[in-house]
């Protein structure tokens, strides 16, 4: 081959078309950085707005009484609905995860995982419609219970996936040791494998709860109750909820309502962000511990 167009003894600065290519590369790097900065900026702006405008509304009165000034019943309602939803979704999700990691062959697990992904992709309004037809229409009652079932459907794939990932991280040596000692499958799972994975399972559940707690569409269809003045503990009746309250207040053209809505948003957002951050940090730590 003939000598390429460069002089090897020339100084080691950009030759040929390198200067132009360098500029292109720098521009691309700048663009990527700008995109990341923009995303963080949006997060900052939204959070700041919620905090700045919502802080005014927060007071003990706001959190613990009902209408007209407080949202206490809505906090209670969300708490009850989410609690019931998690109580339903968590066992089913964990059992599914156990099935995927301990029992199933690759074809069945592929099918189950695909199903979980589809469930995860279901629009929440459809879940709401589904439960409406299933539960509300026959019984002619709107209820927090129906809302809880809807949130359970939303939580289930997240808990199952997260738990499966944690269970996969449990070292096989533990399972083999258990087998070698003659311990039966169910005992191994219950007394060895699950406890090891428990931290990760709990944090996956917390992440699922954080997601479900913010869902409004199912609640809009299934339990559209105003905040009310009294605290209702009966989940088989309509219960107020925080996301639905924000939604209603946001659609009215009432500035005082807006302030209450910001306060509501602050309560919801801080709970969710805090739970998400804590859960992710704990998840990362338990992953690191298990793969060490």
């Amino acid at each position: 081959m003939s000598q390429a167009g460069f002089d090897p003894t020339a100084p080691l600065t950009a030759s040929g078309n390198l200067r132009r290519r360098r500029v292109v590369s720098r521009v691309a790097e700048g663009g990527a950085t700008a995109a990341a900065v923009a995303a963080v900026a949006v997060l900052g702006i939204v959070t700041y707005t919620v905090v700045a405008r919502g802080a005014k509304a927060i007071s003990l009165d706001f959190l613990f009484t009902g209408e007209p000034t407080g949202i206490g019943p809505a906090i209670l309602g969300t708490g009850l609905i989410v609690l019931l939803a998690t109580a339903i979704a968590m066992p089913i999700g964990v059992l599914t995860a156990i099935y995927l990691t301990e029992f199933s062959g690759s074809r069945v697990s592929g099918f189950v995982r695909s199903t979980l992904d589809l469930m995860n992709g279901l629009p929440s309004i459809i879940v709401g419609l589904f439960l409406f037809v299933l539960l509300v229409k026959p019984t002619q009652t709107l209820s927090g219970f129906a809302g809880a079932l809807a949130l359970a459907i939303i939580e289930l794939p997240l808990i199952a996936r997260g738990s499966q990932e944690v269970l996969l991280l449990v070292p096989n040596s533990l399972r083999e040791a258990s087998d070698a000692l003659g311990v039966s499958r169910w005992r191994s799972v219950l007394t060895v494998i699950l406890p090891t994975a428990l931290g990760g399972i709990v944090t996956s559940t917390v992440l699922a709860v954080a997601r479900a707690a913010g869902e409004t569409a199912p609640l809009l269809l299934l339990t559209p109750a105003p905040v009310g003045t009294s605290f209702n503990f009966n989940i088989f009746e309509e219960l107020p909820s925080i996301p639905f309250t924000i939604f209603t207040l946001s659609e009215e053209a009432n500035p005082e309502g807006f302030t209450r809505a910001w306060g509501c948003s602050l309560v919801l957002l801080s709970a969710i962000l805090f739970a998400s951050l804590a859960a992710r940090a704990l998840l990362a730590r338990s992953r690191a511990r298990m793969t060490r």
Binding site: A4, G5, F6, P8, S15, N17, R21
Partner: protein, 298 residues
């Protein structure tokens, strides 16, 4: 110094049968004694002056002084962990990607300090190519593997010829000429490594650095790589790191022996001896060299 020739950007005469013109003595096989005389009139491509390499606090290389001659094959041998690969990767600034990397002393390339602040890393790698221990073809066709870097460099004319030349130079052309569009990942290990060599020589670098190119390959593939070395000798300056002493003895003109040395505190890699290959393997000066090449350790 090679005479200037058609500049490749916009050059429109890619003709098979081109010959690389170079001044200076035509290289012959590593022959008789008289090592120093071989370098008369040729300045070294690389000159390492008191080069020490640190990863964080750990010193991986201590005070290496080395001159790599032009258009020869220089082998770096020695036991594992004594800094051969570290030194090699310092020659094209591939160590820069390691965050804790720090270098002291100077490495001069054609007289220019390689670690000066105005040095463009990308330019360095354009001139100093590298082939890695484990073959790393791109997930592209054989043709595109070779053509990718020339395209980046603006060498768009005569790409087909360039690819063919490179594959011939790597002794791979006959085996793949009918399936240039196939994925490179379907080649055997030895073929993939020769593809990586073809890829490196396609942009006509000044220097080729080879990091244990045959260590991941079976003996037959290894032999083909070694034959390749002989044919590439004289076209490029080649520096090869190898664990395989026989390979170094067969292929290299000059050999550098590295080992761990604890004389300055904790053990770090040092250059023990550097001379013509026959001397290193026949009558080395340093007893450590003698021990190593006679198989007493390592």
């Amino acid at each position: 110094m090679s005479a200037g020739f058609d500049s490749f950007e916009g050059g429109s005469s890619p003709v098979p049968g081109r010959v690389r013109i170079q001044s200076g003595p035509i290289v012959g096989p590593a022959g008789a004694s008289g090592s120093a005389s071989r370098e008369l009139g040729l300045e070294p491509v690389f000159e390492a002056r008191e080069v020490s390499v640190y990863y964080g606090r750990k010193r991986a290389l201590a005070a290496v002084n080395l001159r790599i001659p032009r258009n020869r094959i220089t082998a770096l041998i020695g036991p594992s962990g004594c800094g051969k690969t570290t030194f090699l990767r310092s020659l094209n600034r591939m160590n820069d990607s390691v965050p804790s990397f720090r270098i002291e002393g100077q490495i001069l390339y054609h007289g220019h300090d390689m670690y000066a602040s105005n040095v463009d890393r990308v330019e360095v790698r354009r001139r100093i190519g590298m082939v890695f221990q484990k073959p790393n073809p791109f997930a592209k066709s054989i043709y595109d593997n070779i053509a990718w870097a020339p395209r980046n460099l603006g060498m768009r004319h005569g790409l087909d010829e360039r690819v063919e030349e490179a594959l011939r130079g790597a002794a791979l052309w006959d085996e793949v000429k009918d399936r240039l569009k196939d994925s490179a990942l379907g080649l055997s290990g030895g073929q993939q490594q020769r593809l990586c060599i073809a890829r490196a020589i396609a942009i006509e670098p000044d220097v080729l650095l080879l990091d244990e190119p045959a260590s991941a390959l079976d003996p037959i593939a290894t032999a083909s790589i070694e034959d390749l070395m002989h044919s590439l000798k004289g076209r490029f300056t080649i520096v090869i790191v190898t664990h395989n002493m026989q390979q170094a003895a067969r292929v290299a003109d000059r050999t550098a022996f590295f080992s761990l040395d604890s004389s300055h505190g904790e053990p770090s890699g040092t250059l023990i001896e550097f001379a013509d290959t026959e001397k290193i393997f026949g009558q080395p000066d340093d007893p450590r060299t003698r021990d190593y090449v006679s198989g007493r350790f390592g």
